[in-house]
Subunit: 444 residues, 4 copies
């Protein structure tokens, strides 16, 4: 059966490359993935999946960092024009860009797979030696680019869907294939978890296309899991003051920018924590309306991180207190909006061992990394899904699909070897799901 899976995946290579490059060309950033999501929903429907879309997938009030109505409207029109599926598009409207395909195969465990589908806020490189440009599939959407491989993840998800549908008679249990919006900024997963789609899930898997950096990476195709990320909270702080003429009557103003400046200095100085490595960044600050006007408004985008969840909470509480006091000091009002959040991401050892065993014993063309738990940096909102499943006693893992890349992630020249990465990701994920669902639950 495993070799059948390998063959099926191999056979999908050209098709998945086509899908990936189409998604790449029409890159859509978080909550704007209307064309992408509608086409995924269309394909899953055609394959025979039970398909959920729109507000059936994402809980409205749990969507973090949602753009404003005008922008959503504008991108709705763009998506329509760029060939979104007319049946699904209306359901996706208004920032409901998650899609869920369900395959029910009788009694047995439930396995969820998550694929993130959003692009980044980057302008793609347009020089001749950048392959996507040379081969005609670079992004046509200004300020939006798949520079983190989520176009590949979406294609892999459709590939896994197709393989599992083909072998469904061998499966006992349920498969949920989740296409998640707005992973960048760790904004989207919470809305799917809060909608309840991870409740009752026994195993949850995700993968991330990753460049090779070490000697061990260079002889490996996938890792069994990962560890080492930081918990993080993303916040916007808004300060509201009162304008006044800076020459004529400065005493009548309430200086929102001065409040933000006080907050900035103190945020960067949150005391170090001996129990947890921490981070803080005020990534952007914008304030004021004119040179000679006391600034009545300022906005900062900030984030904190912690090596432990407690360390992250420590930072977030400090940040909240600093922002509040800075506003009050300058007689301003303020808001803090939670824009994203991720937990630590630690793959479960028994599941990692199972994945490694599948690769080593059953698959001929997928080499497993010698380190089960390869460290990852950064933060991932798949951690929300992992936490829900782990809290229920289930198991979770994030696999790194190792391949050659043209530049580091988030760079405007990022590209990856899709001919290599896509089929092998489909192989390992499909094989692991088959392994679980053909045998019944792992005994922990």
């Amino acid at each position: 059966m495993y070799s059948e899976i390998e063959a099926l995946a191999e056979g999908l290579t050209e098709k998945l490359m086509g899908i990936r490059r189409d998604f790449h060309k029409f890159a859509e950033s978080g909550w704007f993935e209307m064309r992408t999501a509608s086409l995924i929903a269309r394909r899953l429907t055609e394959m025979g999946f039970e398909v959920l879309a729109g507000s059936d997938v994402c809980l409205a009030e749990s969507r973090m960092g949602l753009p404003d109505e005008d922008e959503l409207e504008e991108h709705y029109a763009r998506a329509k024009e760029q060939g979104a599926d007319p049946q699904f598009l209306p359901r996706i409207k208004g920032g409901f860009t998650g899609v869920l395909g369900i395959l029910r195969c009788g009694e047995g465990p439930t396995v969820a797979l998550r694929f993130d589908i959003d692009a980044l806020g980057v302008n793609e490189d347009k020089t001749a030696d950048h392959r996507p440009f040379k081969e005609g599939f670079s992004s046509v959407n200004p300020g939006m680019m798949h520079a983190c491989g989520h176009d590949g993840h979406a294609a892999i998800g459709l590939g896994v869907a197709e393989v599992l549908m083909a072998v469904k008679d061998e499966l006992r249990g349920t498969v949920k294939i989740i296409f998640q919006p707005a992973e960048e900024g760790v904004r989207g997963a919470k809305s799917i978890v809060d909608k309840g789609h991870l409740d009752g899930v026994d195993y949850v898997l995700a993968c991330h296309i990753t460049g090779r950096s070490t000697q061990e990476d260079r002889v490996s195709d996938t890792t069994a899991g990962c560890g080492g990320s930081l918990a993080t909270s993303k916040m916007d702080a808004l300060f509201y003051g009162k304008s006044a003429h800076a020459g004529g009557s400065p005493e009548d103003g309430r200086n929102a920018l001065a409040a933000a400046g006080t907050a900035l200095q103190n945020l960067l100085a949150i005391p170090r924590n001996s129990a947890s490595d921490t981070r803080v960044n005020v990534g952007t600050l914008q304030g004021g309306s004119g040179r000679n006007v006391i600034p009545e408004f300022a906005k900062m985008e900030l984030e904190v991180r912690g090596k432990t969840t407690a360390g992250n909470i420590y930072m977030e509480q400090w940040a909240q207190r600093i922002i509040k006091a800075s506003a009050e000091m300058h007689d301003c009002t303020y808001e803090v909006k939670k824009m994203g959040e991720a937990f630590l991401m630690e793959s479960d050892l028994p599941l990692m061992e199972r994945i490694a065993k599948v690769c080593r014993e059953n698959l001929k063309t997928v080499r497993i990394h010698p380190q089960l738990r390869r460290e990852s940096t950064g933060s991932e909102d798949f951690s929300y899904m992992m936490k829900r499943v782990q809290d229920q006693g289930g198991q979770a893992s994030m696999l790194r699909i190792l391949t050659d890349t043209a530049a580091v992630a988030h760079n405007s020249r990022f590209d990856f070897n899709d001919r290599d990465a896509l089929p092998k990701a489909v192989k390992v994920l499909s094989a692991v799901v088959y392994d679980i669902l053909s045998e019944g639950p792992v005994k922990n």
Copy 2:
């Protein structure tokens, strides 16, 4: 002769209102006044003035706060489309929007009059009870509005030109009528002064349309002069650092926003000065590119002011030192760009007395304010021209044309009684010029 001047001015009322409303409708902010300036040049030429335009009026390198090339290009196209004069427009291209009309009448003193012509960066109100909207002459250019009366000043300048041309046989000396761009932000006067147009000028006059606020104002049509403004310097500070991933390797960054934040806090805390009332404002601050990136860039627009020129210099030197040290502290580089500057504005007493005398003794329809030197607030770059003339031993005055206004200056609902203000400004200015040039120089 004075009653002839009054009659001539009276007769121009409808025409000047038409000109003012046309300029109002096609409002153009600083250095973009290409339509306005080209039409002024055209009219002066038709009247018989010797006309200078373009780089003959403004010294290129002395123009402060000039927009970038792309914007100038874009507004050139707009001006063309909105009916700029085709002969003068090409000479005005690239931010050379000053115009100078000269009338030579033999031996005698030189009198310069300055009229500013730029609009503000304001979106004009579009509600039914805002007269310019109701009567169809509100601004059609988004983000540009004549909310400070410079549309009126431009019309007054053309009115004075017409009156003086009509009485030129009675004059002995030279009249220079200067139409100045970019007064808002105190950016434009310096380029005209540096070009030499105020050299050898014996008297320089300007006027400003001003709402009435006191009982004395309500029974007056003009003031003889003004005093009490603040000297000011406008600066942009740019901080350049180095980006880095805020979670992965914050130590590799050079935080330009942290540098700006340190500068902000210390700028607001420049010590008070017992010898001069002072002001400081960081009107805008923008920095950073993304929440999880150490900010590599920040820009602030700031201004300082002083009740005395020394007080303003004190503030500017402090600001320079703070910005430099803040950048160095955070291992960043920086630039400070001077964006505007104005001196104190003190009208000369003999000239004020002469103006008052002309009104009291010669004009029947212009009531002079009982306070010769009515205090004004804010800063004015006419001060550049005054200073040049005063430094040469000449005399200068800024008259306030008092009339009814619909809202305070700089407000999106600003409007003024043009039927009242325009002819009376033409009367007083023309009469004062006549008074000077018909008699020869004042004996100081």
Copy 3:
């Protein structure tokens, strides 16, 4: 009668110089003036005044900036040892160092005179060319020196008392001679005002020995009044946090010094006020206990000032808000203690004119300054008494006794020409009191 007063004052010269030099030698700073006050009370009693001392003069809870019990105890012992009057000393104990001498002469207005008696926290110069040292009357009390002339004021008060007692049969009304403690730091006057001693007073006078700085000063002996001082509030801010090992567990600390540092930066940046010149100074800051301990305590001594009382209140409210928010930001607690306060000090014109008239018409040896209202800088808590009297419809003035000084006030080498200043101050004050009480109330 005026020439009799002049002669009486003249005759007291040696005696007053002796008193002044004794007080100078045993200089006592604010609330420690136990020797000084007890000897004043003794002398007034001997002259025949009705004498109030101790808690009959100062309202206990209105004494600002009172030292702690231990210090008061220590200085009690010192004063005793240095020859304090044994009868009055016990009543003065515990920081009740005000003395009031009353002379009742039947029906008529009440005139109060105030003399401040405290020294400064300065170590007196001990070099050979400093006259007090050379002549053996420099301060024997470390850290306490009469560097502002209050030793002279105390002597003048006793001289006036003696002169008025001598002419009491010519007076109709009441004289109150107030010897006030703790003027430095503007701490003492309030306690006397709050005790009610200025209630019902028609005129209140004070004098200050002042060095000559202008040409006009050099031909004058006294001014009729003064103006131009700043209102001020003096505060101590105390921040309480929690210590922790800075290497081992910084996250357990609450950094009181960080709170104070945030307050410091923001206090210096309180917005300028177009309606009132203002000042702010954090004069001292002390915090922390050791290099490797998160600071659990910090204390700052600060002051604000305003050209108007409203301007001072504006500053004080800002300061209060900043201190509160800084403490809360850093999870610390705090206290703000009001340590002193003074109002504006504007002498009343009719009274100044009366003083000038007395000098010009009646006194042969006291030259009045040509400017009635000579500007003074700094703040004075005599302003408390002036305000109370003025609020009741009475009149007040602070005279400047002009003489030669060896250094600027508050300097460790300060000294003044006591042979010149003391008798002439006695003359003018006695003469003005006589003028008022021999005639009855001024008709305002």
Copy 4:
């Protein structure tokens, strides 16, 4: 032989307790250990050691954090009065309080042992249940207390000296017993290293009396070594400005406290470092002279730390840059004085294994801790000596002598079980030296 060593040490118990309690009673903090050092030198001399003292031990210019001359003078007098040895005291004068005893036993390796002898700046508890007070040996010197066990270390050093002298015929090589001043604040070791006393040393050992905190501690008497400390730099920053009257002419001041405040805020905000855990603390700040004076001076005591030496250097360079820029921003001058420094402290594995083996195989009464390398917190300037020896290819270890303590180190109620700790420390150190010198060098 080992049992002979154990018996010798056991026999010294009462004597060492006496010495320790004498040193405890006459506690002397860093560079003031004149009585202590002179008595040590006396005892070593009497035992037959070659003894170096004074400037033969410490390089003058490498002594960090030296008190000023007056204080050294004052403590010289105190030490003399408290029974310092009259022969050695003069050589120790002026802050040269290191002592070195050398025992030469022919060819063989050189082993150095270091014992620190200084007290802390703490006032010892004087309540009845504090044993040193109850038993009459609490500190008689205000503000100086042995709250970190260095009194015990000094006694142990003398005990080891006596035991090794007793067995010297069995040794081949050289023993250097170093009594080091000023370990607190990590100030003293550098001066001994720079004098060259660690050059050519093959092994260096030290011990620290430590309370038991874990279950493993409770069944152990010593550890073989340690790890996990932080590298650290201690600095004083001094800011020099210019005073001015805060009301009269604030613009004339140069505010040293404002400079320090800017430095404070930015020091606490030095960016976190992903490559090294770091710390920063401004432990004390003192500035200004009076409420109404622009502060002309401020001083801060600060420290930085790093989990790696590079991390510590990163922090120190940031601190230097911040202090410099803060001073320049406020037109002040500044100094940064290095007051102490310590490196990481990592014991060498072969030496730790040797120590463990000696305890397990040869000693009957000293139980070795199961973890060879028990983590320590804080910083130690023994690290200077370790680094010198390790850089030469030698080996180093710091042993923790585990015993019961009355309070945590640095607390005013600290005490330890000297009857237990002293002999067992002498046993293990003497035995290890014997083990090395009876066999010749370890083969690494």
